[in-house]
Protein backbone atom coordinates (compact mmCIF):
# COMPACT_ATOMS: atom_id res chain seq x y z
CA UNK A 1 0.00 0.00 0.00
CA UNK A 2 1.21 3.47 -0.75
CA UNK A 3 2.35 5.52 2.16
CA UNK A 4 -0.27 8.16 1.56
CA UNK A 5 -3.16 5.72 1.60
CA UNK A 6 -1.81 4.19 4.78
CA UNK A 7 -1.92 7.55 6.54
CA UNK A 8 -5.41 8.13 5.20
CA UNK A 9 -6.72 4.90 6.63
CA UNK A 10 -4.86 5.35 9.89
CA UNK A 11 -6.14 8.84 10.57
CA UNK A 12 -9.72 8.05 9.67
CA UNK A 13 -9.73 4.80 11.63
CA UNK A 14 -11.74 6.16 14.60
CA UNK A 15 -14.52 7.29 12.33
CA UNK A 16 -14.54 4.05 10.35
CA UNK A 17 -14.99 2.22 13.65
CA UNK A 18 -17.74 4.62 14.62
CA UNK A 19 -19.57 4.05 11.32
CA UNK A 20 -19.30 0.29 11.57
CA UNK A 21 -20.11 -0.16 15.24
CA UNK A 22 -22.60 2.61 15.91
CA UNK A 23 -24.25 3.10 12.51
CA UNK A 24 -23.88 0.24 10.04
CA UNK A 25 -24.39 -2.54 12.56
CA UNK A 26 -27.34 -0.86 14.34
CA UNK A 27 -28.88 0.01 10.97
CA UNK A 28 -29.05 -3.59 9.75
CA UNK A 29 -29.65 -5.06 13.18
CA UNK A 30 -32.64 -2.81 13.71
CA UNK A 31 -34.00 -3.73 10.27
CA UNK A 32 -33.71 -7.38 11.28
CA UNK A 33 -35.41 -6.63 14.59
CA UNK A 34 -38.49 -5.31 12.82
CA UNK A 35 -39.23 -8.92 11.87
CA UNK A 36 -38.76 -10.27 15.37
CA UNK A 37 -40.18 -10.23 18.83
CA UNK A 38 -37.49 -9.34 21.33
CA UNK A 39 -37.31 -8.42 24.98
CA UNK A 40 -33.52 -7.93 24.96
CA UNK A 41 -32.98 -10.75 27.48
CA UNK A 42 -33.71 -13.81 25.35
CA UNK A 43 -32.71 -14.32 21.73
CA UNK A 44 -34.83 -12.45 19.17
CA UNK A 45 -37.76 -14.52 17.96
CA UNK A 46 -38.46 -14.37 14.19
CA UNK A 47 -42.11 -13.57 13.58
CA UNK A 48 -42.01 -12.44 9.94
CA UNK A 49 -44.17 -9.48 8.99
CA UNK A 50 -46.37 -9.52 12.09
CA UNK A 51 -44.93 -6.30 13.54
CA UNK A 52 -45.59 -4.54 10.27
CA UNK A 53 -49.17 -5.75 9.91
CA UNK A 54 -49.81 -4.82 13.53
CA UNK A 55 -48.35 -1.39 12.85
CA UNK A 56 -50.81 -0.77 10.03
CA UNK A 57 -53.73 -1.57 12.33
CA UNK A 58 -52.39 0.34 15.30
CA UNK A 59 -54.57 3.39 15.88
CA UNK A 60 -52.04 5.01 18.22
CA UNK A 61 -49.41 4.86 15.52
CA UNK A 62 -51.66 6.62 12.99
CA UNK A 63 -52.52 9.26 15.57
CA UNK A 64 -48.83 9.79 16.16
CA UNK A 65 -48.18 10.22 12.43
CA UNK A 66 -51.06 12.67 12.13
CA UNK A 67 -49.67 14.67 15.07
CA UNK A 68 -46.09 14.76 13.85
CA UNK A 69 -47.21 15.77 10.34
CA UNK A 70 -49.22 18.68 11.72
CA UNK A 71 -46.30 19.55 13.97
CA UNK A 72 -43.92 19.62 11.00
CA UNK A 73 -46.40 21.47 8.78
CA UNK A 74 -46.61 24.30 11.33
CA UNK A 75 -43.06 24.29 12.61
CA UNK A 76 -40.97 23.98 9.43
CA UNK A 77 -42.44 26.79 7.26
CA UNK A 78 -42.96 29.13 10.19
CA UNK A 79 -39.45 28.70 11.52
CA UNK A 80 -37.85 29.09 8.08
CA UNK A 81 -39.83 32.20 7.14
CA UNK A 82 -39.29 33.81 10.53
CA UNK A 83 -35.58 32.99 10.45
CA UNK A 84 -35.25 34.51 6.98
CA UNK A 85 -37.08 37.70 7.94
CA UNK A 86 -35.04 38.09 11.14
CA UNK A 87 -31.77 37.40 9.33
CA UNK A 88 -32.65 39.95 6.65
CA UNK A 89 -33.41 42.67 9.17
CA UNK A 90 -30.46 41.88 11.40
CA UNK A 91 -28.21 42.24 8.38
CA UNK A 92 -29.30 45.87 7.99
CA UNK A 93 -27.47 48.37 10.07
CA UNK A 94 -29.77 48.70 13.04
CA UNK A 95 -28.92 49.64 16.58
CA UNK A 96 -28.21 46.96 19.13
CA UNK A 97 -27.69 44.33 16.46
CA UNK A 98 -25.69 41.99 18.63
CA UNK A 99 -28.24 42.35 21.41
CA UNK A 100 -30.96 41.10 19.07
CA UNK A 101 -28.79 38.29 17.78
CA UNK A 102 -28.29 37.17 21.33
CA UNK A 103 -31.96 37.55 22.15
CA UNK A 104 -32.91 35.15 19.37
CA UNK A 105 -30.08 32.78 20.02
CA UNK A 106 -30.55 32.46 23.76
CA UNK A 107 -33.44 29.96 23.45
CA UNK A 108 -31.24 27.77 21.25
CA UNK A 109 -28.74 27.29 24.03
CA UNK A 110 -31.33 26.91 26.79
CA UNK A 111 -31.69 23.20 27.55
CA UNK A 112 -35.14 21.88 26.63
CA UNK A 113 -35.80 20.78 30.16
CA UNK A 114 -35.43 24.33 31.41
CA UNK A 115 -37.14 26.08 28.48
CA UNK A 116 -39.98 23.58 28.33
CA UNK A 117 -40.56 23.83 32.06
CA UNK A 118 -40.88 27.57 31.66
CA UNK A 119 -43.33 27.30 28.77
CA UNK A 120 -45.40 24.68 30.53
CA UNK A 121 -45.84 27.23 33.25
CA UNK A 122 -46.55 30.19 30.94
CA UNK A 123 -49.19 28.21 29.05
CA UNK A 124 -50.83 26.74 32.12
CA UNK A 125 -54.60 27.02 31.91
CA UNK A 126 -55.31 28.49 35.31
CA UNK A 127 -52.25 30.42 36.44
CA UNK A 128 -50.29 30.81 33.21
CA UNK A 129 -49.16 34.22 32.05
CA UNK A 130 -50.51 33.79 28.51
CA UNK A 131 -54.05 33.22 29.64
CA UNK A 132 -53.72 36.01 32.15
CA UNK A 133 -52.97 38.38 29.29
CA UNK A 134 -55.88 37.00 27.27
CA UNK A 135 -58.33 37.52 30.11
CA UNK A 136 -57.10 41.02 30.79
CA UNK A 137 -57.95 41.75 27.15
CA UNK A 138 -61.33 40.19 28.04
CA UNK A 139 -60.74 37.21 25.78
CA UNK A 140 -61.61 33.71 26.94
CA UNK A 141 -58.75 31.66 28.41
CA UNK A 142 -57.43 28.85 26.22
CA UNK A 143 -56.44 25.40 27.38
CA UNK A 144 -53.19 25.38 25.42
CA UNK A 145 -51.76 22.06 26.42
CA UNK A 146 -54.72 20.00 27.60
CA UNK A 147 -57.43 20.99 25.16
CA UNK A 148 -59.86 18.35 23.91
CA UNK A 149 -59.18 19.68 20.44
CA UNK A 150 -56.22 17.52 19.38
CA UNK A 151 -54.64 20.12 17.11
CA UNK A 152 -54.36 22.81 19.75
CA UNK A 153 -51.74 21.21 22.02
CA UNK A 154 -49.74 20.12 18.97
CA UNK A 155 -49.87 23.67 17.62
CA UNK A 156 -48.80 25.11 20.97
CA UNK A 157 -45.83 22.77 21.11
CA UNK A 158 -44.91 23.54 17.49
CA UNK A 159 -44.87 27.25 18.34
CA UNK A 160 -42.70 26.64 21.39
CA UNK A 161 -40.39 24.66 19.14
CA UNK A 162 -40.13 27.65 16.82
CA UNK A 163 -39.17 29.82 19.79
CA UNK A 164 -36.43 27.35 20.56
CA UNK A 165 -35.12 26.74 17.06
CA UNK A 166 -35.50 29.95 15.08
CA UNK A 167 -32.16 31.30 16.28
CA UNK A 168 -30.08 28.50 14.83
CA UNK A 169 -31.74 28.75 11.40
CA UNK A 170 -31.34 32.50 11.60
CA UNK A 171 -27.59 32.34 12.20
CA UNK A 172 -27.08 30.08 9.18
CA UNK A 173 -29.17 32.35 6.96
CA UNK A 174 -27.48 35.45 8.35
CA UNK A 175 -24.12 34.02 7.32
CA UNK A 176 -25.53 33.37 3.85
CA UNK A 177 -27.01 36.86 3.50
CA UNK A 178 -23.70 38.39 4.57
CA UNK A 179 -22.15 36.55 1.64
CA UNK A 180 -24.26 38.49 -0.89
CA UNK A 181 -21.84 40.82 -2.72
CA UNK A 182 -22.26 44.47 -1.76
CA UNK A 183 -22.02 45.78 -5.33
CA UNK A 184 -25.23 43.96 -6.23
CA UNK A 185 -27.11 46.15 -3.76
CA UNK A 186 -25.48 49.25 -5.19
CA UNK A 187 -26.31 48.27 -8.76
CA UNK A 188 -29.90 47.62 -7.72
CA UNK A 189 -30.29 50.99 -6.03
CA UNK A 190 -28.82 52.72 -9.09
CA UNK A 191 -31.53 51.10 -11.16
CA UNK A 192 -34.10 52.34 -8.68
CA UNK A 193 -35.18 49.01 -7.24
CA UNK A 194 -37.11 49.21 -4.00
CA UNK A 195 -36.41 47.13 -0.93
CA UNK A 196 -39.01 44.57 -1.73
CA UNK A 197 -37.65 43.79 -5.18
CA UNK A 198 -34.08 43.82 -3.90
CA UNK A 199 -35.12 41.10 -1.51
CA UNK A 200 -37.02 39.01 -4.04
CA UNK A 201 -34.77 39.48 -7.05
CA UNK A 202 -31.34 39.49 -5.43
CA UNK A 203 -31.19 38.26 -1.85
CA UNK A 204 -33.70 35.43 -2.09
CA UNK A 205 -32.24 33.71 -5.19
CA UNK A 206 -28.66 34.00 -3.93
CA UNK A 207 -29.53 32.67 -0.50
CA UNK A 208 -31.95 30.02 -1.72
CA UNK A 209 -29.47 27.10 -1.46
CA UNK A 210 -29.06 27.87 2.24
CA UNK A 211 -32.81 28.29 2.69
CA UNK A 212 -33.19 24.86 1.19
CA UNK A 213 -30.60 23.45 3.58
CA UNK A 214 -32.35 25.04 6.56
CA UNK A 215 -35.67 23.68 5.33
CA UNK A 216 -34.35 20.14 5.01
CA UNK A 217 -32.55 20.26 8.36
CA UNK A 218 -35.58 21.58 10.21
CA UNK A 219 -37.84 19.00 8.58
CA UNK A 220 -35.58 16.20 9.74
CA UNK A 221 -35.41 17.68 13.22
CA UNK A 222 -39.20 18.12 13.33
CA UNK A 223 -39.78 14.43 12.74
CA UNK A 224 -37.16 13.53 15.30
CA UNK A 225 -38.47 15.90 17.95
CA UNK A 226 -38.45 14.18 21.30
CA UNK A 227 -37.37 16.46 24.13
CA UNK A 228 -40.05 19.01 23.38
CA UNK A 229 -42.83 16.47 23.70
CA UNK A 230 -41.18 14.90 26.70
CA UNK A 231 -41.20 18.14 28.65
CA UNK A 232 -44.41 19.73 27.41
CA UNK A 233 -46.69 16.76 27.99
CA UNK A 234 -46.95 14.23 30.76
CA UNK A 235 -44.47 11.42 31.18
CA UNK A 236 -44.25 9.07 28.15
CA UNK A 237 -46.30 6.24 29.62
CA UNK A 238 -49.45 8.27 30.09
CA UNK A 239 -49.58 10.46 26.99
CA UNK A 240 -53.05 10.10 25.40
CA UNK A 241 -53.41 9.24 21.70
CA UNK A 242 -54.42 12.78 20.85
CA UNK A 243 -50.97 14.04 21.84
CA UNK A 244 -48.74 11.08 21.06
CA UNK A 245 -45.83 11.26 18.59
CA UNK A 246 -43.85 8.43 16.97
CA UNK A 247 -40.81 9.04 19.14
CA UNK A 248 -42.79 8.87 22.34
CA UNK A 249 -44.33 5.59 21.15
CA UNK A 250 -40.95 4.19 20.19
CA UNK A 251 -39.41 5.16 23.50
CA UNK A 252 -42.37 3.75 25.40
CA UNK A 253 -42.44 0.41 23.58
CA UNK A 254 -38.70 -0.08 23.64
CA UNK A 255 -37.75 1.01 27.13
CA UNK A 256 -40.88 0.93 29.23
CA UNK A 257 -42.50 -2.26 27.91
CA UNK A 258 -39.44 -3.85 26.22
CA UNK A 259 -41.10 -4.59 22.89
CA UNK A 260 -37.93 -4.04 20.89
CA UNK A 261 -39.16 -5.58 17.66
CA UNK A 262 -42.28 -3.50 17.44
CA UNK A 263 -40.44 -0.36 18.47
CA UNK A 264 -37.89 -1.02 15.70
CA UNK A 265 -40.68 -1.38 13.16
CA UNK A 266 -42.04 2.00 14.24
CA UNK A 267 -38.62 3.62 14.01
CA UNK A 268 -38.24 2.26 10.50
CA UNK A 269 -41.67 3.53 9.55
CA UNK A 270 -40.63 6.94 10.83
CA UNK A 271 -37.39 6.72 8.86
CA UNK A 272 -39.36 5.93 5.69
CA UNK A 273 -41.66 8.91 6.26
CA UNK A 274 -38.69 11.26 6.78
CA UNK A 275 -37.01 9.90 3.67
CA UNK A 276 -40.17 10.35 1.61
CA UNK A 277 -40.69 13.93 2.79
CA UNK A 278 -37.04 14.78 2.12
CA UNK A 279 -37.26 13.31 -1.39
CA UNK A 280 -40.40 15.36 -2.11
CA UNK A 281 -38.57 18.48 -0.99
CA UNK A 282 -35.65 17.53 -3.20
CA UNK A 283 -38.01 17.18 -6.18
CA UNK A 284 -39.36 20.68 -5.73
CA UNK A 285 -35.88 22.05 -5.18
CA UNK A 286 -35.32 22.81 -8.87
CA UNK A 287 -38.43 24.97 -8.99
CA UNK A 288 -37.11 27.66 -6.69
CA UNK A 289 -33.56 27.01 -5.59
CA UNK A 290 -31.00 28.87 -7.62
CA UNK A 291 -27.43 27.62 -7.95
CA UNK A 292 -24.74 29.70 -9.56
Amino acid sequence: MRNEARWGYLLTLPFSLNLLVFFAFPFFFSLYLTFTQWDMFNAPDWIGGRNWSRLIQDASFWYSLRNILLFAAIFVPLQTILALVLAYFLNQSIRGKSFYRMLYFLPVVTPWLAGGTMWGWLLNKTYGMVNYMLTSLSLPPVDWLDSKQWWLPITSVALVNVWKGVGSSMVILLAAIQGVPKDLYEAASLEGANRWSVFWRIVFPLVSPMIFLVLVLSTISAFQAFDVFLVMFDSPNVVPDSKVTPNILIYKDAFLTTKMGYASAMSWALFIVILAVTLVQKRFEKRWVHYE
Binding site: A5, F27, Y127
Partner: protein, 247 residues
Protein backbone atom coordinates in the same frame (compact mmCIF):
# COMPACT_ATOMS: atom_id res chain seq x y z
CA UNK B 1 -38.12 32.16 35.09
CA UNK B 2 -35.60 34.06 37.17
CA UNK B 3 -38.33 36.01 38.90
CA UNK B 4 -40.39 32.97 39.80
CA UNK B 5 -37.34 31.20 41.15
CA UNK B 6 -37.10 33.81 43.88
CA UNK B 7 -40.73 33.85 44.96
CA UNK B 8 -42.35 32.54 48.09
CA UNK B 9 -44.62 29.56 47.41
CA UNK B 10 -47.92 31.38 47.86
CA UNK B 11 -46.94 34.18 45.48
CA UNK B 12 -46.08 31.98 42.51
CA UNK B 13 -49.52 31.67 40.99
CA UNK B 14 -50.73 35.10 42.03
CA UNK B 15 -52.29 37.11 39.22
CA UNK B 16 -51.36 39.66 38.06
CA UNK B 17 -47.86 38.22 38.22
CA UNK B 18 -45.39 39.90 40.53
CA UNK B 19 -42.44 40.84 38.36
CA UNK B 20 -40.28 41.73 41.29
CA UNK B 21 -40.77 39.07 43.92
CA UNK B 22 -41.41 40.19 47.44
CA UNK B 23 -40.21 38.75 49.64
CA UNK B 24 -37.14 37.56 47.72
CA UNK B 25 -36.69 33.94 48.67
CA UNK B 26 -33.09 32.96 48.01
CA UNK B 27 -33.60 29.75 49.88
CA UNK B 28 -35.40 28.24 46.87
CA UNK B 29 -31.94 27.72 45.44
CA UNK B 30 -30.73 26.06 48.58
CA UNK B 31 -33.85 23.89 48.54
CA UNK B 32 -32.94 22.54 45.14
CA UNK B 33 -29.72 21.24 46.60
CA UNK B 34 -31.48 19.74 49.57
CA UNK B 35 -34.34 18.09 47.68
CA UNK B 36 -32.15 16.34 45.16
CA UNK B 37 -28.46 15.70 44.86
CA UNK B 38 -27.88 18.52 42.41
CA UNK B 39 -24.21 18.80 43.33
CA UNK B 40 -23.67 15.23 42.20
CA UNK B 41 -25.64 15.82 38.97
CA UNK B 42 -23.61 18.93 38.25
CA UNK B 43 -20.40 16.98 38.70
CA UNK B 44 -21.65 14.22 36.35
CA UNK B 45 -22.70 16.74 33.75
CA UNK B 46 -19.32 18.44 33.83
CA UNK B 47 -17.34 15.20 33.57
CA UNK B 48 -19.34 14.10 30.53
CA UNK B 49 -19.37 17.48 28.82
CA UNK B 50 -15.64 18.12 29.24
CA UNK B 51 -14.73 14.64 28.03
CA UNK B 52 -17.07 15.08 25.06
CA UNK B 53 -15.49 18.37 24.07
CA UNK B 54 -11.95 16.97 24.27
CA UNK B 55 -12.94 13.82 22.42
CA UNK B 56 -14.75 15.67 19.67
CA UNK B 57 -11.95 18.16 19.04
CA UNK B 58 -9.18 15.55 18.91
CA UNK B 59 -10.97 12.88 16.90
CA UNK B 60 -12.67 15.22 14.44
CA UNK B 61 -9.38 17.00 13.71
CA UNK B 62 -7.64 13.73 13.07
CA UNK B 63 -10.33 12.25 10.83
CA UNK B 64 -10.96 15.45 8.93
CA UNK B 65 -7.22 15.85 8.32
CA UNK B 66 -7.00 12.29 7.03
CA UNK B 67 -9.91 12.84 4.71
CA UNK B 68 -8.81 16.22 3.45
CA UNK B 69 -5.10 15.55 2.86
CA UNK B 70 -4.76 11.97 1.71
CA UNK B 71 -6.25 9.98 -1.12
CA UNK B 72 -7.31 6.42 -0.51
CA UNK B 73 -9.83 4.12 -2.00
CA UNK B 74 -12.47 4.06 0.70
CA UNK B 75 -12.51 7.82 1.11
CA UNK B 76 -15.69 8.24 -0.92
CA UNK B 77 -17.43 5.59 1.17
CA UNK B 78 -16.46 7.39 4.37
CA UNK B 79 -17.70 10.69 3.00
CA UNK B 80 -21.05 9.21 2.03
CA UNK B 81 -21.25 7.47 5.40
CA UNK B 82 -20.70 10.81 7.08
CA UNK B 83 -23.60 12.41 5.20
CA UNK B 84 -25.82 9.39 5.76
CA UNK B 85 -25.35 9.51 9.53
CA UNK B 86 -26.64 13.05 9.53
CA UNK B 87 -29.86 11.85 7.83
CA UNK B 88 -30.53 8.68 9.78
CA UNK B 89 -32.97 9.25 12.64
CA UNK B 90 -31.54 8.58 16.04
CA UNK B 91 -34.47 6.29 16.80
CA UNK B 92 -33.32 3.72 14.26
CA UNK B 93 -29.94 3.16 15.88
CA UNK B 94 -31.20 3.74 19.40
CA UNK B 95 -32.25 0.20 20.30
CA UNK B 96 -29.20 -1.64 18.92
CA UNK B 97 -27.01 1.08 20.42
CA UNK B 98 -28.56 0.45 23.80
CA UNK B 99 -28.05 -3.28 23.29
CA UNK B 100 -24.36 -2.80 22.47
CA UNK B 101 -23.69 -0.86 25.67
CA UNK B 102 -25.81 -3.23 27.71
CA UNK B 103 -23.84 -6.22 26.48
CA UNK B 104 -20.61 -4.42 27.35
CA UNK B 105 -22.06 -4.02 30.83
CA UNK B 106 -21.60 -0.29 30.42
CA UNK B 107 -25.04 0.94 31.47
CA UNK B 108 -24.88 3.40 34.34
CA UNK B 109 -21.36 4.42 33.41
CA UNK B 110 -20.08 7.48 31.60
CA UNK B 111 -18.81 5.41 28.66
CA UNK B 112 -21.90 5.33 26.37
CA UNK B 113 -22.03 9.11 26.52
CA UNK B 114 -18.30 9.69 26.07
CA UNK B 115 -16.69 7.00 23.93
CA UNK B 116 -18.58 7.80 20.68
CA UNK B 117 -17.32 11.37 20.76
CA UNK B 118 -13.74 10.07 20.72
CA UNK B 119 -14.55 8.32 17.45
CA UNK B 120 -15.45 11.48 15.61
CA UNK B 121 -18.85 12.98 14.91
CA UNK B 122 -20.09 13.71 11.39
CA UNK B 123 -20.88 17.33 12.04
CA UNK B 124 -17.46 18.24 13.39
CA UNK B 125 -15.65 16.26 10.72
CA UNK B 126 -17.71 18.01 8.08
CA UNK B 127 -16.84 21.47 9.44
CA UNK B 128 -13.12 20.75 9.78
CA UNK B 129 -12.94 18.94 6.48
CA UNK B 130 -14.25 22.04 4.71
CA UNK B 131 -11.67 24.11 6.56
CA UNK B 132 -8.66 21.88 5.85
CA UNK B 133 -9.57 21.67 2.20
CA UNK B 134 -9.49 25.44 1.98
CA UNK B 135 -5.85 25.57 3.15
CA UNK B 136 -3.19 25.56 0.48
CA UNK B 137 -1.25 22.53 -0.70
CA UNK B 138 1.93 24.57 -0.38
CA UNK B 139 1.55 24.73 3.37
CA UNK B 140 1.64 20.96 3.60
CA UNK B 141 4.56 20.71 1.17
CA UNK B 142 6.49 23.28 3.19
CA UNK B 143 5.92 21.35 6.41
CA UNK B 144 7.25 18.22 4.72
CA UNK B 145 10.40 19.98 3.61
CA UNK B 146 10.90 21.13 7.18
CA UNK B 147 10.90 17.49 8.18
CA UNK B 148 7.41 17.15 9.60
CA UNK B 149 5.67 13.82 9.23
CA UNK B 150 1.88 13.90 8.75
CA UNK B 151 1.35 13.31 12.46
CA UNK B 152 3.48 16.28 13.55
CA UNK B 153 2.04 18.44 10.77
CA UNK B 154 -1.46 17.72 12.00
CA UNK B 155 -0.90 18.58 15.67
CA UNK B 156 1.79 21.27 15.33
CA UNK B 157 0.49 23.15 12.30
CA UNK B 158 -3.07 22.34 11.30
CA UNK B 159 -4.60 21.88 14.74
CA UNK B 160 -3.51 25.34 15.97
CA UNK B 161 -4.40 26.83 12.60
CA UNK B 162 -8.02 25.76 12.89
CA UNK B 163 -8.48 27.43 16.26
CA UNK B 164 -11.50 29.47 15.15
CA UNK B 165 -13.39 26.48 13.79
CA UNK B 166 -12.39 24.37 16.76
CA UNK B 167 -13.73 26.88 19.25
CA UNK B 168 -17.06 27.01 17.41
CA UNK B 169 -17.13 23.22 17.42
CA UNK B 170 -16.25 23.17 21.11
CA UNK B 171 -19.16 25.47 21.91
CA UNK B 172 -21.55 23.40 19.80
CA UNK B 173 -20.41 20.24 21.52
CA UNK B 174 -20.61 21.77 24.95
CA UNK B 175 -24.17 22.92 24.40
CA UNK B 176 -25.31 19.71 22.78
CA UNK B 177 -23.85 17.55 25.51
CA UNK B 178 -25.02 19.79 28.32
CA UNK B 179 -28.67 19.71 27.20
CA UNK B 180 -28.67 16.10 26.02
CA UNK B 181 -31.68 14.41 27.56
CA UNK B 182 -32.34 11.27 25.57
CA UNK B 183 -28.82 9.83 25.90
CA UNK B 184 -28.67 9.99 29.70
CA UNK B 185 -32.32 8.91 29.87
CA UNK B 186 -31.43 5.69 28.06
CA UNK B 187 -28.11 4.86 29.63
CA UNK B 188 -28.30 6.20 33.17
CA UNK B 189 -30.80 4.78 35.60
CA UNK B 190 -28.87 5.05 38.83
CA UNK B 191 -29.58 8.39 40.49
CA UNK B 192 -25.91 8.66 41.39
CA UNK B 193 -25.08 8.92 37.69
CA UNK B 194 -27.77 11.42 36.65
CA UNK B 195 -26.87 14.51 34.69
CA UNK B 196 -28.52 17.87 35.34
CA UNK B 197 -31.25 17.66 32.67
CA UNK B 198 -32.19 14.23 33.95
CA UNK B 199 -32.21 15.53 37.51
CA UNK B 200 -34.55 18.29 36.40
CA UNK B 201 -36.82 15.83 34.63
CA UNK B 202 -37.25 13.76 37.76
CA UNK B 203 -37.49 16.82 39.96
CA UNK B 204 -40.57 17.77 37.93
CA UNK B 205 -42.44 14.72 39.02
CA UNK B 206 -41.11 14.93 42.56
CA UNK B 207 -41.90 18.50 43.52
CA UNK B 208 -45.13 18.70 41.52
CA UNK B 209 -46.54 22.16 41.92
CA UNK B 210 -43.71 23.87 43.71
CA UNK B 211 -42.98 25.99 40.69
CA UNK B 212 -40.50 28.23 42.46
CA UNK B 213 -38.18 25.30 43.23
CA UNK B 214 -38.51 23.98 39.69
CA UNK B 215 -37.67 27.37 38.22
CA UNK B 216 -34.66 27.69 40.50
CA UNK B 217 -33.46 24.33 39.23
CA UNK B 218 -34.12 25.39 35.63
CA UNK B 219 -32.04 28.52 36.18
CA UNK B 220 -29.20 26.42 37.57
CA UNK B 221 -29.30 24.14 34.54
CA UNK B 222 -29.42 27.01 32.07
CA UNK B 223 -26.78 29.24 33.62
CA UNK B 224 -23.60 27.44 32.47
CA UNK B 225 -24.64 27.33 28.81
CA UNK B 226 -25.63 30.97 28.86
CA UNK B 227 -22.29 31.92 30.38
CA UNK B 228 -20.38 29.86 27.81
CA UNK B 229 -22.50 31.33 25.04
CA UNK B 230 -21.90 34.90 26.16
CA UNK B 231 -18.15 34.36 26.18
CA UNK B 232 -18.10 32.48 22.92
CA UNK B 233 -20.78 34.39 21.02
CA UNK B 234 -18.36 35.93 18.58
CA UNK B 235 -16.62 32.67 17.65
CA UNK B 236 -19.96 30.95 17.49
CA UNK B 237 -21.54 33.23 14.90
CA UNK B 238 -18.33 33.77 12.96
CA UNK B 239 -17.36 30.14 13.18
CA UNK B 240 -20.47 29.22 11.25
CA UNK B 241 -19.98 32.07 8.83
CA UNK B 242 -16.36 31.20 8.07
CA UNK B 243 -16.62 27.47 7.51
CA UNK B 244 -18.04 26.85 4.09
CA UNK B 245 -21.48 26.39 5.59
CA UNK B 246 -22.19 29.36 3.39
CA UNK B 247 -22.93 26.96 0.57
Amino acid sequence: MLSTSLKAGMNVSKLPPQWIPSPVVWSNYADVWVKVDFARYTFNSFVIVIADVIGTLLSCSMVAFGMAMFTFRLKKVLYLGMLATLMLPFQVTMIPGYFIWKSFGALDTYYPLIVPTFLGGSFGIFLLHQFYKSTTKELYEASKIDGCGPWTALWRIYFPLSRAVLSALAVFTFMGAWSNTIGPLLYLHDKEMFTLPLGLLFLRSDVGLEQQILMAAAVIVTLPVVVVFLFAQKQFVEGIASTGLKG
